[in-house]
Amino acid sequence: MGKSWLRAYILKRLLYAVIIAWGILTVTFVLVRVGPSSPADRYLANMTASGQDVSQIVEAIEARYGLDKPMHEQYIEYMGNLFQGKLGWSFSNSMPVIDLIKTHWIYSFQLILLSSIFAALLGVVVGIYSAVKQYTKTDYIATFFSFVGISLPNFWLGVMLILVFSVKLGLFKTYYDTGLPLFSLDNLKALVLPVMTLGTGMLAGYVRYTRSAMLDNLRKGFVTTARAKGLPERTVIGKHVFRNALLPLVTIVMFDLGSIVFGGAYLTEIVFGIPGLGQISFNAIFANDYPVVVAVTLIGTSIVLLVNLVTDVAYTYLDPRIRYD
């Protein structure tokens, strides 16, 4: 392939990603640990209820989990463990963080995956159509609705969907049912409202991005050439314009991923009571359960950093002119 520089570039980016991830984790650790309460508080509530001595319990628990050591020692120990792949112990759930994540990641994953598929497929189709028919009534309607879509607060949309479809019409349950088998029609049905909640904003964004990326390319010389050659319009749009529009489109879509994982999905999980990673890290913040908060932050950040890297590398194959030095 003659892309010898690519290996060096990937290594550089990976190193860079590790540094960024470390920075983010440190800030998260510090923020959670300077919080107003100790992770031991959760135990405390249970044990004082059974009439035991408070101060003794706190000391015992803090010694047991190393919480009595100075903050910097805790930090070094925690980061050391993290480096070896040990995510630690969840105080509020009384189980290893890794087990907690193993049982909950799938709920976030299915929500984000289904919403992305829904939004990307529909968004790209509508966006292309809107660009090809620029300044027609269809285009105006599509543009208007994409404005509506990006302006709808997604948590409010979720509440409204529950109000109309669950409370008034009784078509869906108001809460996500975790007892359903993963690959079942019932589970899919339970995800309809959450996917609409998360997917609408994404869909609107994709329509806008696709439309503008298509318009950027529609008036280029090579399009005129392709038409002049007598190629059918389908081929011109599909092969010549869309392929060139794909690159900027992918950039923006990948750039948005972080805000979707941490913003939209997070709120959607809370509205519908889906026990995904967003929900557990949210509960963990309130319980001061820093191993869970840091672990979920680590997962989310790693996904975002990795996806960015993969996108940048993929560019060099999509467009061989691109070089990073």
Partner: protein
């Protein structure tokens, strides 16, 4: 002819805030976009509502359990009252009344008054927090571009880290730690939201830095401070106006989202706080969740319309 050209050149080179002709030109271009004008009109209406509205409405904190869960005018709901005499649930129809045109919540507070005072909160949060973010972003961006070298490198790498940081999670953490006070919420949003501005301002300033008028200023012995504040900053004003307009809705939504998950300031009736309370009474009083949401939606939509129009007017090719 030459005089005219020189005249034009002088005017074009002048920054936006002293150049009336340019301002008029941009205004004409923005005005052609009808949605932008509608957006601007709604925002002005909202500012007026927030500024003088509270003087005309009832007290938004006035609790009246006699009048609780009244629907908006034109709507009816069913209300079940337990009758201790007959030991039965008596169901009666309740109509909205003009004393409370938008209805009341579960504590009998007037929804109209709460929505109006919420407008004030949301606008203040939006303006102040994005103000902080934009000032910070502009400082970082201009300095980064002007200084170059290691200073640029350090600032931009820091910006990268901040950009990768899960924004909403960071907000939740900060607000949880410092407590749900409106001041902290505004500060948290402002202090974390400057990264996009920094990047855009930096790339704009990088190109400005090499332009003739900056070189001329330097040749005439202008100090760094003078070049930055008299030549670079004024010339990124148009960019900043667009970024501000497009970032305010994000800020308003962030505050609402925080309130929605229970991290809002409980002493202030922001739209997010009302909405949060409303989602728990969907079956008895749907309007409590619907009304603040509609206002939130319309406000965000208005800013997006205006921002889009302004961007097209300033620079039709840009992709902010």
């Amino acid at each position: 002819m030459t005089r005219r050209l020189r005249d034009i050149a002088r005017k074009v080179g002048r920054p936006l805030y002293v150049n009336r002709r340019l301002v008029n030109y941009y205004w004409e271009r923005t005005r052609r976009n009808k949605l932008a004008v509608v957006g601007l009109a709604f925002i002005l209406f909202l500012i007026l509502l927030g500024a003088v509205g509270p003087f005309f409405t009832l007290d938004p904190t006035l609790v009246d359990f006699e009048q609780k869960n009244l629907p908006p005018v034109g709507f009816t709901t069913l209300k079940s009252v337990y009758d201790i005499e007959t030991d039965e649930l008596a169901t009666s129809e309740v109509r909205g009344i003009w004393t409370h045109p938008l209805g009341t919540d579960s504590k009998g507070r007037d929804m109209l008054a709460m929505i109006v005072s919420g407008a004030r909160v949301s606008l203040l949060v939006g303006l102040i927090a994005s103000g902080i973010a934009i000032v910070l972003g502009t400082i970082v961006g201009v300095l980064s571009a002007y200084l170059g070298g290691w200073a640029d490198n350090v600032m931009m790498r820091f910006t990268d880290i901040m950009m990768t940081f899960p924004f909403f999670l960071l907000l939740v953490l900060i607000v949880f730690i410092f407590g749900p006070r409106l001041v902290f919420i505004v500060l948290a949003i402002g202090l974390t939201g400057w990264t996009g501005t920094a990047r855009l301002v930096r790339s704009e300033s990088l190109s400005l830095r090499t332009r003739e008028f900056v070189m001329a200023a330097r040749a005439m012995g202008a100090s760094d401070g003078r070049i930055i504040f008299r030549h670079l900053v004024p010339n990124v004003v148009s960019l900043i106006i667009v970024i501000a307009t497009l970032s305010i809705p994000g800020v308003i939504l962030a505050e609402a989202a925080l309130s929605f998950i229970g991290l809002g300031d409980p002493t202030v009736a922001s739209w997010g706080i009302i909405l949060e309370a409303g989602q728990h009474s969907l079956d008895t009083a749907w309007w409590v969740a619907v009304e603040p949401g509609i206002m939130l939606f319309l406000t965000v939509l208005a800013f997006n319309f205006l921002g889009d129009g302004l961007r097209d007017a300033f620079d039709p090719k840009s992709n902010i």
